[in-house]
Amino acid sequence: MKQARNRNLKRLYDWFEQRLQVEGPIKEAVLHNVPRNTASWWYVFGSAAFTLLMLQIVTGILLALVYVPSAAEAWNSLNTLNHQVPLGWFLRAVHAWGSNFMVAVVFIHMAQVFLFGAYKFPRELTWTVGVFLLLMTLGMAFTGQVLRFDQDAYWGLGIGVFILSRVPWMGGGLVHLLLGGPTIAGATLSRFFALHVFVIPGTLLFLALVHVWMVVKLGINEWPMPGRLVRKSTYIAEYDQLTHEDGIPFVPGAFWKDLIFSAAVLAAVGVCAAVFGPSGPGGQPDPSITQTVPKPDFPFLWIYAVLSYLPPSMETPFILIAPILMIAGLLAVPFVASEGEKSWHRRPVAVLALATVAVGWGVFTHLAMSTPWSPHMSAWSGDTLPVEYLREATPLVRQGAVIFQAKQCRNCHSIGGLGGERGPTLDAVATRMTPDQMRYKVVTGGGNMPAYGKNLSPAEIEALVSFLETLHPKGEAPAFDASQQAVQSNAAPAPAGGSSTP
């Protein structure tokens, strides 16, 4: 009975195999020898990225069953997904977290490949295709952020538009092309839907398959050993020898680690999705609502930070030239260093470059999360003043404190740990500046401070400065103008209770 069933199954298998003829190529791909020490936990990121791509495709299709790619309805359909479709929120969360993980895993994969010198001969093209895969992954993240058609999506795309508009000569045309019209509107969402759902994923999947094809054909990069140099003339023979003498079949030797890591990543996506939920949608995409603080999604936060620190004159050249240089640099890596050492022990410049990029990225991302350069738009109306700052204060000082709040000084200057961080914190400003210096600064501005000369009456400035004069720690005297005191003490020989010497 059992034998008969097995025989039937075998016949069915043979029927298909005779027509498809895939057994040979698959067996060859699966059972080919790879260097034994590449069966390592360091080599699991590429397959995890591919797994995440599959997850994104599946969850993306599932979301497309409900999502309406229309500027008028997209936001509503996302809310329907979140609140009315059973587990719609979970699917959205998995897609969003899958995207975060995919960007992260692709970057880690790239860093590992770079560190292990895996881009060297004969794998230059694998790296080149990988660079385009990275760009397309970021393209998916950006277009996906636009499809979450809320305030952040609207203004985030607006930032993209402003960047594009700086291209000389054709900036305006490019903006029209990107938006499908003169403003962010219905046509814009339609074309971003086409990009996010057809154009980019189609190319991404094709290039990912080319990438995997080359990995299978060229073999997995051997574990880098200090002193084992890559030479174009000898490498292929050396690699063949290595895989024959110290190789194991890819399946199961190395593949089980890929499987376990991919499962762990998928589980992590699921847990994050369940715990943290979907991202947005935030406020409605109504550009007449100005009560918004737009911020891009995680992968683009560092750009957001860089853009706030550039001096105005550098901005346009930097925005237009830096991305080209970065991409060209990445593409050039395998052609500049196609031979030689693979081991990070002997590649200090490569290690240093990677560390610099990683630290720079981390610092800018961290800065973008706290945005010390942005005014706190509601600090003036919402943040409280510490009580001790006003205890025993004169009416004039109190009036100054009110002016300090009412004129939005607090939006940029914090006091008692609350308020904006754009300008210096003012808890001890009286120790740094004399009243005259404060007056001058308030009236004329300077640096990053607007001039308030036209917006404050002399009486208001006096009140404000007398409040600021009280801001110094107990036991630390406020700053004073020594020359002024000298003049005063000469004019009035006996100042009542004044300091004895200037």
Binding site: T183, A185, A187, T290, E315, K407, G445
Partner: protein, 214 residues
């Protein structure tokens, strides 16, 4: 699968001998004729592809038009509704619109009435990267929530990364209505005249900062 198994596998239709015979029969002239025909096939496809590409490119470039073709005059309401010396947030329907634009066709602007006959209508987009600036009447400043750009009441740059003042719309008074020439998201490419950044604390160049009208 061993090599012997592989060779035992039922092969595809065995046309091998016929091909051999055919190639025997073919002299160099016949072969070169076939190559010529192949080239003709490729050329034909190229020609047809090109012919089809022209309308495709035209279709794709459809949104690329002159700025003026997107713009038209929009009323912001009764000019007398704007008090002299004050700045008000107004919103209007974008003149270039599709039925499926939803809320995105609401556009906001700030109207400042300087005197009975003089207005300035600012776009809400920060001149740095387009985020919506907010007006604070108490301190007479526009502040941007993104990168901290700040502008004075007249739209000139006060501080932060913007390299110019706020964008303005052309306006006119028609039949008592304040009208602006709108329809295009203001960016550096369409409304821009790059101007020198006024040095902080001085008033020089402020007018130039906002020289975006007309």
């Amino acid at each position: 699968m061993t090599v012997s198994e592989e060779s035992n596998r039922p092969n595809t239709l065995s046309t091998q001998p016929e091909i051999d015979k055919a190639s025997d029969r073919d002299g160099p002239a016949a072969v070169s004729r076939r190559w010529l025909l192949l080239k003709a096939g490729v050329a034909l496809n190229g020609l047809v592809g090109l012919a089809l590409a022209v309308p495709v490119v035209r279709y794709l470039l459809a949104p690329v038009r002159t700025d003026s073709s997107y713009k038209s005059w929009v009323s912001l309401g009764d000019a007398d509704g704007f008090p002299v010396g004050e700045t008000r947030l107004v919103s209007f329907k974008n003149p270039w619109t599709q039925p499926w634009d939803g809320q995105t066709d609401n556009v906001a602007a700030y109207v400042r009435r300087e005197s009975a006959s003089q207005f300035t209508v600012f776009a809400i987009n920060c001149a740095h990267l387009g985020c919506p600036v907010r007006w604070f009447p108490q301190s007479q400043l526009f502040m941007c929530p993104c990168h901290g750009g700040v502008y004075y009441a007249d739209g000139s740059r006060a501080s932060g990364p913007p390299e110019r003042g706020l964008f303005t719309y052309d306006y006119k008074i028609a039949g008592g209505q304040l009208q602006i020439d709108a329809g295009q998201m203001p960016t550096l490419s369409n409304t821009a005249k790059l101007v020198n950044i006024s040095s902080p604390g001085t008033n020089s160049g402020k007018d130039g900062d906002c020289g975006c009208r007309g």
